[in-house]
């Protein structure tokens, strides 16, 4: 597939994208079936050993199963082909149910390079194209040789941006990286710390009140602890060795412990940014910056560890770092509220815990809303990305002459909600924001 001649003016760009149908890397079935093969080995080897020597009949069955798995993988590799033509990535796959997938490169939101553990060992990577619609989980090239994957990503992104496919991989400049010590500390200070604290209190109370029931409860406590540990490890696995770099085609995020992942978020595709400051992080002045792009993650086997997490632009860092990154993604956005941004004092009757934190403000480009006491969150939405604007008023708010204003975006995780604004102010916002958003879109 990589037999193109390297043109002199594109040194470093690698061979051209295949115009004729090409196959993926021959080791792909091994990486794809990595889990299946490992599971098979894990089941088979102990069984063979336990038998005190090899048993012909069992060995035969196991070998047959292994052969079937491998054959299926090889067939799937044989029938999968890809090429780039007419500004589209074209994929054909499937033996019995033949599928042909066309991905218009101009619609690509981002291209991720994913390397599961098995693929890392084999030196190959998967390219995953991120699109706005649902059902696009199959837009992926699994797998390509490692260095080639990086080139192909650059070429696909360049084609999508209307440049020639020979454009070299854009240079990048590291903006921030997260020390692993800090990442581990911050992860432990999150849900695991809360879980341990809650369970510890529960156990202490139980020993005092009803010492006999401690025993049975311990089992349940163990399960919960295991769950919390697993969740913490998942986060570490995804966000270990985190760096974010800037390049002309967007922001590059790289991270991962066992499975590494390199994502590019193209400039101008960011739907919303959220800055969160969990309660336990505040003594250290840490915060977390997350981005939302228009896409729907497919739930797939082996992908649950990534799908459940938001894309962190900065998993943990200090406020200055977060503000600097935010300025790259959404220039001009302010995360510190101006003096008149607070919700009115009477909002304390409706939100007694969080009313001090409730604030929202906007300029000609961005709408910002701050909420939350335990997990303080500030959501920044570019007005140009607003899909719809909603005004809501519940019965308690009506008594207090308050209303909430929502800005909905194509992102799927959060929308900006200016909670409990003064009624007149909310009405004014509802009247002004649509035209502001229209002006922002037109720019």
């Amino acid at each position: 597939m990589s037999d193109g001649v390297v043109p002199a003016h594109s040194v470093g760009a690698g061979p051209e994208l295949p115009i004729a149908w090409a196959r993926l890397h021959p080791l792909s079935p091994l990486a794809k079936g990595g889990r299946a093969v490992l599971a098979l080995v894990a089941v088979t080897v102990p069984r063979q050993l336990a038998g005190g020597g090899l048993e012909q009949s069992r060995l035969g069955v196991d070998a047959a199963v292994a052969a079937l798995v491998i054959a299926a993988g090889v067939v799937s590799w044989l029938v999968t082909r890809w090429r780039v033509a007419d500004g589209e990535l074209q994929l054909e796959l499937g033996l019995l149910r033949r599928q042909s997938i066309r991905v218009p490169l101009a619609r690509v939101q981002a291209v991720d390079v994913v390397r599961p553990l098995a693929a890392r060992l084999l030196g190959i990577s998967e390219l995953r194209l991120v699109l706005a619609g649902s059902g696009t989980g199959k837009a992926r090239l699994a797998f390509l040789p490692q260095h080639r994957a990086v080139q192909v990503r650059a070429q696909l992104l360049a084609l999508g941006a209307g440049l020639t496919g020979e454009t070299a991989e854009a240079p990048e400049r590291t903006l921030a990286s997260v020390p692993n010590k800090r990442l581990i500390a911050s992860t432990l200070l999150g849900s695991p710390a809360v879980t341990v604290a809650v369970l510890g209190t529960l156990l202490v109370v139980l020993t005092v009140v009803a010492p006999t029931s401690v025993g049975p409860v311990l089992g349940a406590v163990g399960t919960v602890l295991f769950g919390a540990a697993a969740a913490a490890f998942r986060r570490l696995n995804v966000e270990f060795n985190f760096t974010v770099a800037e390049s002309p085609d967007g922001l590059r995020l790289k991270s991962g412990l066992l499975q590494t992942r390199a994502e590019t978020i193209p400039a101008g595709r960011v739907q919303a940014v959220r800055l969160i400051q969990p309660l336990l992080w505040r003594p250290f002045g840490w915060c977390r910056l997350e981005v939302d792009v228009a896409q729907q993650r497919e739930r797939e086997v082996g992908e649950e560890d990534v799908g459940q997490l938001t894309r962190a632009l900065l998993p943990v860092g200090d406020r200055a770092q977060a503000d600097a990154l935010l300025a790259r993604v959404l220039p001009g956005a302010v995360t510190h509220p101006p003096p008149d941004a607070q919700a009115p004092r009477r909002a304390r009757f409706k939100a007694p815990l969080s009313y001090r934190r409730l604030a929202s403000w906007h300029d000609h480009e961005h709408f910002v809303a701050r909420t939350g006491r335990l997990q303080a969150a500030t959501v920044v939405v570019p007005l140009a990305k607003a899909q719809s604007i909603r005004w809501t008023q519940g019965p308690a708010q009506r008594r207090l002459r308050l209303a909430t204003l929502h800005l909905d975006t194509a992102g799927h995780r959060w929308q900006a909600a200016a909670r409990d604004r003064d009624l007149d102010q909310a009405n004014e916002l509802l009247r002004r924001l649509p035209s502001l958003a229209r002006a922002a879109r037109a720019r």
């Binding site: 899909q387 719809s388 909603r390 005004w391 519940g394 909905d408």
Partner: protein, 165 residues
């Protein structure tokens, strides 16, 4: 209710269009379909024990039906929509009041649906979808002709002003 309407209209400086009056009749029919059997069964059950119990059950169930009627009536009255130059406004809600503004350019697709009861009364529901899942722009109880007009107009406007993500 009147206060809400004046606030909304004044706040946005627009006149809202209302769903067809037949929506209220459709809702009445739906209510009757549930309330009549309930009243009959409740009264019957009361009559098994004594006359007073039957009377009490009848009055209670009638009161419940009346209360439901009032709630439904106010809900039906709360719907309103306005086609402005650049966006569509949908207002609704009794307990929680909502106003949704959807720019025409943000529309991804339009749905016109008519359930069995709606069809009986010649009504249809128009729903707008944007790329945001949270957008809730739905207008129920439009006369079929009005629904078709709205659909065509919105589709044309959406086409003319479509914007990328």
């Amino acid at each position: 209710m009147a206060v809400f309407w004046s606030t909304r209209c004044e706040a946005q400086g627009v006149d809202y269009l209302r769903p067809s009056p037949r929506l209220w009749r459709a809702r009445q029919a739906q209510l009757a379909a549930v309330a009549v059997p309930v009243v009959v069964v409740a009264t019957g059950l009361g009559a098994v024990s004594s006359l007073q119990a039957a009377l009490a059950a009848l009055l209670l169930s009638l009161a419940a039906a009346a209360a439901a009627g009032v709630v439904l009536r106010r809900r039906v009255q709360s719907w309103g929509y306005a086609e402005r130059d650049d966006d569509l406004l949908v207002a609704r809600g009794v307990l929680v009041r909502r106003i949704t503004v959807v720019p025409y350019g943000r529309m991804q697709f339009l749905d016109v649906t008519a359930g069995p009861v709606e069809r009986l009364f010649g009504l249809a529901t128009v729903q707008l979808h944007t790329a945001a899942a949270a957008t809730d722009a739905r207008i129920p109880g439009l006369a079929a002709s009005e629904a078709a007009r709205l659909r065509d107009r919105l589709a044309a406007l959406g086409e003319a002003r479509s914007a990328g993500l």
